[in-house]
Amino acid sequence: MDIGTIVAGLLTLAILTFLYRDNPIYKMAESLLIGIAIGYILVITWTNSLMSLLFRPLLNEGAVWLLIPLALGLMMFGRLHRRTALLSRIPIGVLIGSGAGVAIPAMLDARTLRQLSATVGPVITTGGVPDVSMLVVLIGVISTLIYFYFSREHVGWWGRTARLGTWFLMVFFGTTFGYTVMSRMSTFIGRMEFVLSDFLRVIN
C-alpha cells in the first residue's frame, strides 16, 4: 500500500470520529483541511488566472492596458485596513455593475420568458385537448406564483389557489428531499468504497 493511501485512510477515519462527538483529532484534521484548501485556491488562482490573464501578458507582451485591472485589483487590498477600506469600493463597483449588467438579459430571457413560454406554449399549441400533465404544470406554476405573491391577502379563491400552490411546493420539497438523501448516501458509499477497498483491502 502506498503512503498516500495510508495518509488518506487515516485522515478519513479522523474526520469520521466526529460522529461520536466533536474531539481534538477531528478539530486538528478540520484545521489542516481548511488551511490546505485555502493554500490550494491561492496557488490555482495565481498560476491559472493571474499569471495567464494579467502578469504574463503585462510583462512579456507589454499589454499596458492591463495596468488598469491591476490597479483595480490592488485596490481590493484596501479592505485589509480601516483607513484604506473605501478604496475597495471601486473594484467592488466593477464586480457588482458587471454582474447586474449581464444578469438583466439572462434573468429576463433565459429564466423568466423561456420558462413561461415552456409552461404556456404546450397548452395552447396542442390544437386539440391539451395533455393532462401540461395542465397540471400550468396549474402548478400559477398557483405557486400566487402563493409567493404577498401584495394581496391570501383569502377567498385567491387564498385557496395559494393553498393549492403550497401542495405543489410540498411535492417539490419532498422530491428534492428524496434526491438529497440519495446524494448524501452516494457520498458516504463512495468514502466507504475507498476505506474498504483501497485502505483496508477488505473488498476488491
Partner: protein
C-alpha cells in the same frame, strides 16, 4: 466519556447497513431511465471527432458521488472518438478535472494536446463563460500547465463556442444554471449536464423547457450509464448499498412516525 445517545444508534445502524452491503459485493442491475438514455444517445449521435467542452464545476466534497458520473461520461465520449476540452470554473475542480482526463486519456491511449486538453481554472464563472463565448483563447491563453494555447493541436480550429459541439457541465452545485442561462442562451451552445443527485430537481425545469439538452444525476445515474456503455464501475458496485441505505432511511421515517402517532394517541387518552 459521555453516554451514547439515540442518534449514535441511528448512525451505527446506517454504518452497518452500508458496510454489510458493500462487503457482499453484489452487482444489482438497474433499469435505465429516460434521462440516462437521452444523454447516452446524444453522445452517440455526435460524429466521431466532435469537440466537447467539459466543465468540472465541482468540489472535492462531492467527488465520491461525482467521480463515477464523470468517469462514465468521459469514457463514453473518449471511446466514441470525441475530442475533449476540459475547464474548471471552481478552483477545486481544477485538480479533479486534470486528473480524471489524464486517467481516461491513459486508459484509451489518447494523446494530451491532440485528443484532449485541460485548460485549467478561471475565477468568476459567469465572466469566464461569457468570455469563452467571445474567445476561448483570450480566456485561457495557456493550458493548466502553462503551455500556450496555439501550441496545442486540439485547439487549433477552436475560437469560441461556435466550434464546440456541446458543453457538458459536471456539477455538484448551481453552475449548470449559469451555463444554460449565459453560454446556452447568449451564444446558442448546446448544454448538457451530469449533476449530483441533490441538484436534479433544480434543473428539471430547464430540461423540460429544452434549455438543458440532457442530464444524468447521482450514483444511480452513474450506474445506469455504466450499464449503457457496458463498463462497470463504482456506480453499479454501489447500487446495493444505495438501495439498502434508502430502505434504512424509509424505516427510520416510519419508526419516527409510528412513535409520534402512538405518543399523540397516548397524550389524548391521558
Amino acid at each position: 466519556m459521555s453516554r451514547l445517545e439515540a442518534r449514535h444508534w441511528v448512525f451505527l445502524g446506517l454504518f452497518l447497513v452500508v458496510l454489510v452491503s458493500m462487503v457482499l459485493q453484489v452487482d444489482l442491475g438497474v433499469t435505465v431511465s429516460d434521462d440516462s438514455r437521452r444523454m447516452h444517445d446524444y453522445l452517440e449521435s455526435l460524429p466521431p471527432g466532435s469537440t466537447l467542452l467539459m466543465s468540472f464545476d465541482l468540489e472535492a466534497s462531492s467527488l465520491p458521488e461525482m467521480r463515477p458520473l464523470a468517469l462514465a461520461i468521459i469514457r463514453h465520449a473518449v471511446s466514441r472518438g470525441h475530442r475533449i476540452v476540459g475547464v474548471a470554473l471552481l478552483a477545486e475542480g481544477t485538480g479533479i478535472g486534470y486528473r480524471l482526463l489524464e486517467q481516461v486519456g491513459r486508459e484509451y491511449g489518447k494523446v494530451y494536446g491532440e485528443d484532449y486538453v485541460f485548460l485549467g481554472f478561471k475565477p468568476q464563472y459567469i465572466a469566464a463563460m461569457l468570455s469563452m463565448g467571445e474567445s476561448i483563447k483570450q480566456t485561457f491563453p495557456e493550458d493548466y500547465l502553462g503551455r500556450p494555447y496555439d501550441s496545442l493541436p486540439v485547439l487549433r480550429r477552436i475560437t469560441n463556442y461556435a466550434q464546440i459541439d456541446g458543453v457538458i457541465s459536471l456539477a455538484d452545485g448551481s453552475l449548470t444554471t449559469h451555463w444554460i442561462e449565459y453560454a446556452g442562451n447568449q451564444y446558442g451552445v448546446r448544454v448538457s449536464a451530469a449533476v449530483a443527485a441533490a441538484m436534479v430537481t433544480t434543473y428539471d425545469p430547464y430540461l423540460a423547457s429544452g434549455q438543458l439538452h440532457a442530464m444524468i444525476g447521482g450514483l444511480r445515474g452513474a450506474a445506469e450509464y455504466e450499464q449503457l456503455i457496458h463498463r462497470g464501475g463504482s456506480g453499479l458496485r454501489g447500487m446495493l448499498a444505495q438501495t439498502t441505505s434508502h430502505v434504512y432511511v424509509i424505516v427510520m421515517i416510519l419508526i419516527g412516525n409510528v412513535a409520534f402517532f402512538l405518543g399523540m394517541r397516548k397524550r389524548r387518552a391521558g
